[in-house]
């Protein structure tokens, strides 16, 4: 058997629907059609009445999920693309994120954001919004990079009492495969050493984990061992695991697919330099997308986003300092 990242997301939802009668799914085309990416394929048939097509109304979709959560339900909402969550932004950051703090009533909703770039998708079907949501108190922001995490973290996300922004990466949907689904998993909030090393730490997440692993492999030929830390969750962010890695390597490169200003890389560097300044043998470095909208043409897109070779080039530069 072989299962893709996308199938893992479907399976997690199927399991949650089967195990917990409070769970339901709401979003555009998620019903009989099974969703734009087929992440809810057959679920409407398997769980009648619990996988519900919405109008094109992201503000209402999120708002309704919040109301349902107040009444004890466990809604999962699917945005057709992360980019469209800007329309539901107010409900996410002002209603869902503040509910518990203000009223003491928690808000267990999961907002699934098909995120990140793929070739030819252009400025409005490629965005990575994790840093935007992580800025707000009251939200948990997850960025699974593996099939196993896509499955186990989504299950855990549904179980969490608080609102979760689940940034699943479209570039991994079909590419990434695993032999089977995990029975156990690391808890949310713990980062993972995706590849151990001793010369330099790359801290990354989402699709960039794979670009970074490829870069590490490439550089291994030069005799350098790069450690790759997959954050898994960017809020909360597992500073301890990152610090422990930097303590081993003395060098930090942060790689993110999103824009640089105030992104995950900036946040990681701020934490490491504040809490582990003495561990660094060289300045921390970051590699992000270029600071423009995500271009449509694959030739431009391939330069706009960090690729394995760009990561390798940055790592080499940092190793030489």
């Amino acid at each position: 058997m072989s299962i893709t990242y996308l199938e893992a997301i479907r399976e997690a939802q199927a399991k949650a629907l089967a195990d917990d009668p409070r769970v339901f799914i709401y979003g555009q085309d998620v019903g009989t059609f099974g969703g734009a990416f087929k992440a809810t394929k057959n679920l409407a048939k398997e769980f009648p009445g619990r996988v519900i097509d919405s109008p094109i109304s992201e503000d209402a979709i999120v708002g309704m999920a919040i109301g349902a959560a107040i009444e004890g339900a466990r809604p999962i909402v699917e945005m057709q693309f992360a980019d469209f969550s800007t329309v539901g932004f107010n409900q996410i950051v002002n209603q869902a994120a503040t509910l518990y703090y203000r009223t003491g009533v928690s808000c267990p909703i999961v907002v699934r954001l098909p995120s990140g770039g793929t070739a030819g998708s252009g400025p409005f079907h490629s965005q990575s919004m994790e840093a935007i949501y992580a800025h707000y108190p009251g939200l948990v922001v997850l960025t699974p990079a593996t099939v196993e995490d896509a499955y186990s973290m989504l299950l855990e996300a549904i179980a969490i009492e608080d609102p979760v922004i689940f940034c699943e990466h479209k570039f991994l949907y079909y590419h990434l495969k695993a032999e089977s689904l995990p029975a156990e998993a690391q808890p949310i909030g713990k980062a993972r050493i995706a590849r151990p090393g001793r010369d330099l730490t790359i801290v990354t997440y989402g699709a960039m984990v794979h670009e970074s692993l490829a870069a590490a492999e490439e550089i291994a030929a030069d005799g350098f061992e790069i450690e790759v830390v997959d954050l898994r969750s960017i809020k909360p962010l597992d500073t301890d695991t990152v610090l422990a890695s930097v303590a081993r390597t003395g060098r930090l490169l942060c790689v993110g697919e999103a824009w640089p200003w105030g992104g995950v890389c900036a946040e990681v560097i701020a934490r490491v330099t504040a809490e582990g300044f003495g561990l660094l043998d060289a300045p921390p470095m970051r590699l992000n997308a270029k600071d423009t909208p995500v271009p449509y043409h694959p030739a431009l897109w391939g330069t706009h986003r960090p690729t394995a070779s760009a990561v390798a080039a940055s790592a080499r530069q940092l190793l030489e300092i």
Binding site: F24, P55, S57, A60, I66, G67, Y101, T103, P236, R271
Partner: protein, 340 residues
């Protein structure tokens, strides 16, 4: 529809009881709000104070027609509706004055209060935003197999211009959920008159575009408000889908207590829409012989005493202490992020 009510034996007596009950709640809201205004002028309230003077009849009719187990998401000017739905003088004062014993514990204030687990949702400031939230609450109730539940929420003339109003009401209509949206058409959104807010002849004209039932009500008449909103809530409860009610009235006070409402067209105040619903209701009650002018005056006096005493008590209550706070926005403490 009033025939329907009157055709039952004893209906008139019931109606009298209902009106008097509503009147006393309106009066409580009015007296409490007068106190809030005084406290504001005295510098006792740090944030803004936003009152519902002139809107008590419409508001109370919503709260009083709801049942325990229903959902209610009131808006800015719903002190009367809130109290009819179970909110208290005590918690109102605690929230405005920021007592740590209030339902919002000083974390949020004034009109931003509620007890969501009891069906009494706490509004956020963003207008329109509560409509989809109530809709979702009703969807969950349906999924849980509950029927006969109603969710009501209020909005202003200005709030109808928000995308949230549109998306929420439309989604409720598609699901045919028992949502009751009450528009308090008080002629202004802050300083903005209706002529700068929408171009339809009547806000009720919006109902057909959502495929929902529309109801018009004279917001200055308590009897009309109780009757029409009663009909709408009954229809929603019976499976008739969303109901849109437009009540015409005038805000008899500034947008907030900082505002002198000098922009209000003075001719409006002299028109029927500009009448004070409490005065009208009081006169009606006296005229119908359900209570005397002395009784009305007594009720007010009792309420003033209660409100004053409660305010005094609340002002002696502890403020929230920052040191006692755990400063977490998540209920799952293990998932808190830590910043050096």
């Amino acid at each position: 529809m009033s025939e329907v009510v009157k055709s039952r034996p004893g209906a008139e007596r019931d109606q009298g009881r209902e009106i008097v009950k509503a009147y006393r709640t309106m009066l409580a809201a009015r007296v409490l709000e007068e106190k809030l205004a005084a406290l504001y002028r005295g510098g006792k309230i740090k944030g803004g104070v936003f009152l519902g003077r002139g809107q008590e009849a419409l508001s109370v009719a919503v709260g009083q027609n709801l049942r325990p187990g229903d959902i209610f998401a009131p808006l800015i000017r719903d002190q009367a509706g809130r109290m009819a739905f179970g909110d208290t003088i005590l918690d109102t004062l605690r929230t405005y004055l920021g007592s740590s014993l209030g339902s919002m514990r000083g974390r949020d204030g004034n009109i931003h209060r509620g007890r969501p687990r009891e069906g009494y949702y706490a509004m956020i400031s963003h207008l329109g935003a509560m409509i989809p939230v109530v809709t979702g609450g009703l969807l969950a109730r349906r999924l849980q197999g509950q029927s006969g539940v109603v969710g009501a929420t209020c909005i202003g003339d200005g709030g109808t211009s928000t995308g949230a109003f549109h998306e929420g009401l439309n989604a409720a209509a598609v699901e045919k959920l028992p949502l009751v949206v009450v528009v308090a058409n008080n002629q202004y959104a802050y300083s903005t008159p209706n002529s700068r807010q929408f171009a339809c002849a009547d806000l009720l004209d919006k109902a057909i575009g959502y495929g929902v039932t529309g109801h018009k009500v004279d917001g200055t008449s308590l009897a009309d408000c109780l009757r029409v909103i009663g009909v709408a809530i009954t229809a929603a409860r019976a499976g008739g889908g969303p109901q849109l009610i437009v009540g015409d009235l005038l805000r008899l006070v500034g947008h907030g207590e900082h505002d002198d409402a000098s922009y209000v067209d003075p001719t409006l105040r002299r028109k029927p829409v500009g009448q004070d619903c409490i005065e009208l209701a009081g006169a009606y009650i006296i005229q119908q012989g359900w209570a005397s002018a002395e009784q009305l005056a007594n009720w007010r006096e009792e309420l003033e005493t209660e409100v004053d005493a409660t305010a005094g008590r609340v002002m002696r209550e502890p403020e929230p202490d920052p040191a006692d706070e755990d400063w977490s926005a998540l209920s799952t403490r293990e998932l808190e992020d830590h910043f050096a």
